[in-house]
Amino acid sequence: MTTRKNAATDPRGHAPDGADGEPAALDGIDGPPEPEIVPLGPVAALLRRTILIGVLPVLSGGYLWQASVIALPERALAVSPRSFPIVLGVLMCVTALGLAVVEVRRMLAARGAATRDEEVAPEIDDDQERITSWRDAWVTFAALVVYVATFALLGFVVSTVAFLICLSTYFSPRRLLRNAIVSVVFSAAVYLLFVNVLNVQLPAGLLSGVM
């Protein structure tokens, strides 16, 4: 297990000493970023399986299909607009299927080990950051969607102030006043910077008569 642990300290997955075949544990890096493997969590694991086995192959296949039906102009062409996308599409399909096969085999191995009551070594990711609260992540994403949707309609200032107050108060509910003040000041500052200094017209929306 020691080899694994050391590999986990390296976010890009290649421990400097793993390559020369020496057991990394002897002189391996271990330091303050505690080299523990962070479990993926049920939501992320489910998402990962769905994406790798289902979404990416379908997406790649769809791209290849769409590439092969690109409308061709009536004249003779030295280079078809289809050829480059088709090459990419084929390579994408191959890679996506490869990833799917690896994932399916990993799933089967895990299932087989579970029936034999063994423990399988967890996968080591390059990226060890994990979302611990998917609810918070989805709330953030939903807030962004609403913000973007109302950006032009309500205008920059109104939508931004609302977005900032709501999202920051969701994450620190007891600091409503502080959140409100910072949100208003920040929105005004960004508006002035873009409109007056950078000459970028931001949508005025509801406040179009006032500003």
Binding site: T2, T3, D10, R12, G13, H14, P16, I29, G31, P32, A44, L47, R48, I51, L52, L56, A67, I70, A71, L72, L77, A78, V79, P81, F84, P85, L88, M92, T95, G98, L99, D126, D127, E129, R130, I131, T132, S133, D136, A137, T140, F141, A143, L144, Y147, V148, F151, A152, F156, T160, F163, S168, S172, N179, V190, V197, L198, N199, V200, L202
Partner: protein
């Protein structure tokens, strides 16, 4: 010697108060971003594009970008040393010995060694860049479309296959290339994948993709872990900013080795600052008389001085292919390339011939940026650390606002906002699968260039595919790309063979 007079003339330009102000601004913003975990130099540059386009001055833009580029590295090392929280992946190794030194009360020495080392390396890389730029540029002028395609493919192959996850990184590159095919085909003028949407006619801008996949996704990750992570970070005392004679001596050697190593690794596509810092750490440990002390006890100053020098030198090295060939070797230089194109600069081999004063201004601004950062950062360390006290609950939503306004101001159209959100979701999906995102940005920027040059080569040869192997340069480059392609396979076979010999280790895989 032509180079030296050109460089001196460029200093005349760069030392104007206006440009010094841009350099200062870039250095400040870059350091701030480097200190805050999450956003890297590439996103910061993408977010600042509206500001840069509003300036409308390519020289000013690149001077600011140089400041951001180096500033992010300085900022990242500061938090690695004091808090054990690396802001950038290139400062992860700095934690190993840097944080131990801080715990042992030598944080000041670690900070000083990192800062001076970055400065030395930055200056070295800039000198090396100015020495090699002209000769490489002259060779580059002799290259045609077939060689260009080969070089770009080599850059992409190296990016995807030299990292830890070849298959995943390869998918990321291909995804970026595929996104790059949306819009009007440069050679035939046909529309592709636009589905009648006017906003897609000119293709999907890399800024939208970069901001969506990095800034939005990073905020989702930060806020998605906020409740577990807690709101405060313990800040260790830095101690006094001085090094003993012994520490100076030990650092100096490491700086020198790190600078040379970092520069050459940085020139290579796909390697970059992160890999150079790991290689430098490995080098320092393997030549040390006491390798067992690295990352243990009070830490070894070499293990921090070397990588810090190496990652800064690599940032300089990465500019070599960008300025001479117009081929970016990393996400950060890809954003720079996109910005230059957005400002109407013709990038590629002709840049140095047609716009030499511009290239020399960049090089001169790197010197200025380095001096500015060392002056700015060593005394202001305490101030930068205070930045971490800004509550995440407010800071992260603000980053989303800046992302949205940045995207909106680039095109003044709300479809682009939707595209940004969609790429936020795509980036999240890829990141959950542990698929690296940076190769996609590189693919997106290089894709249209590759396709255009490929088209030109085939038009010139009247459709004869032999044109891609018509010159020795092209053939050798293709061979290299193919060799890199087979590398993971070879490594796997070797590993299997080794495991068969030592069955005990086989169980850990």
């Amino acid at each position: 010697m032509d180079s030296i007079s050109s460089l001196l003339a460029a200093f005349g330009t760069v030392l104007q108060p206006e440009y010094l102000l841009y350099a200062l601004l870039g250095a400040l913003i870059g350091t701030a971003v480097g200190v805050l975990p999450g956003l890297g130099p590439s996103v910061t540059m993408a977010l600042l594009l509206p500001v840069v386009f509003a300036l409308g001055d390519p020289t000013g833009a690149i001077i600011m970008f140089a400041g951001i580029f180096y500033g992010a590295m300085y900022g990242g090392s500061t938090t690695s040393i004091l808090l054990s929280t690396p802001g950038e992946s290139s400062s992860v190794v700095t934690v190993l010995d840097g944080y131990r030194m801080t715990k042992a009360g030598r944080g000041g020495a670690a900070l000083l060694s990192a800062a001076v080392g970055s400065f030395v390396a930055g200056i070295f890389a800039t000198i090396a860049l100015s020495v090699v730029a002209e000769p490489i540029g002259r060779i580059a002028l002799g290259l045609g479309p077939p060689e260009y395609v080969a070089f770009a493919v080599l850059a992409l192959a190296a990016t995807s296959l030299l990292g830890g996850r070849p298959l995943k990184a390869a998918f990321s590159v291909l995804f970026g290339l595929a996104v790059g095919t949306v819009g009007i085909h440069a050679v035939s003028g046909t529309q592709r994948f636009t589905y009648g949407s006017l906003a897609l006619y000119n293709g999907i801008d890399f800024e939208l993709v970069t901001i969506g996949m990095f800034a939005v996704v990073e905020v989702l990750f930060v806020l998605g872990t906020l409740k577990m992570a807690g709101h405060t970070r313990p800040v260790a005392a830095a101690g006094k900013l001085y090094m003993t004679m012994n520490e100076w001596r030990r650092s100096a050697g490491a700086w020198g080795r790190g600078s040379v190593l970092g520069f050459f690794v940085g020139v290579l596509p796909g390697a970059g600052a992160t890999m150079s810092s790991y290689l430098s750490y490995g080098l320092e440990r393997s030549i040390s008389k006491t390798p067992q002390k690295f990352g243990r006890g009070e830490g070894m100053i070499e293990g921090l001085a070397g990588p810090e020098a190496a990652n800064n030198a690599a940032a300089g090295g990465a500019l070599v292919p960008l300025l001479t060939l117009g081929i970016p070797a990393s996400a950060a230089t890809a954003v720079m390339l996109g910005a230059l194109q957005g400002l109407g600069v013709t990038t590629g081999p002709l840049l140095l011939r047609d716009n030499p004063e511009f290239v020399w201004a960049i090089i001169a601004s790197l010197f200025v940026g380095n001096v500015m950062l060392v002056v700015l950062n060593v005394p202001l360390v305490g101030l930068w650390v205070q930045l971490l006290k800004v509550p995440t609950a407010l800071l992260s939503p603000m980053i989303l606002v800046i992302s949205t306004v940045g995207v909106f101001s680039l095109s003044r159209n709300t479809t682009d906002l939707t595209i940004m959100v969609v790429f936020g979701l795509v980036g999240l999906a890829l990141r959950v699968c542990d698929i690296p995102l940076a190769p996609a940005v590189l693919g997106l920027v290089l894709g249209p260039l590759i396709e255009e040059q490929w088209g030109r080569a085939l038009v010139a040869s009247r459709g004869d595919w032999d044109v891609f192997f018509s010159s020795p340069t092209a053939t050798v480059t293709w061979a290299l790309a193919a060799a890199i392609g087979f590398l993971p396979l070879i490594q796997k076979t070797l590993r299997r063979a080794r495991e068969r010999r030592s069955p005990v280790r086989g169980t850990t895989r």
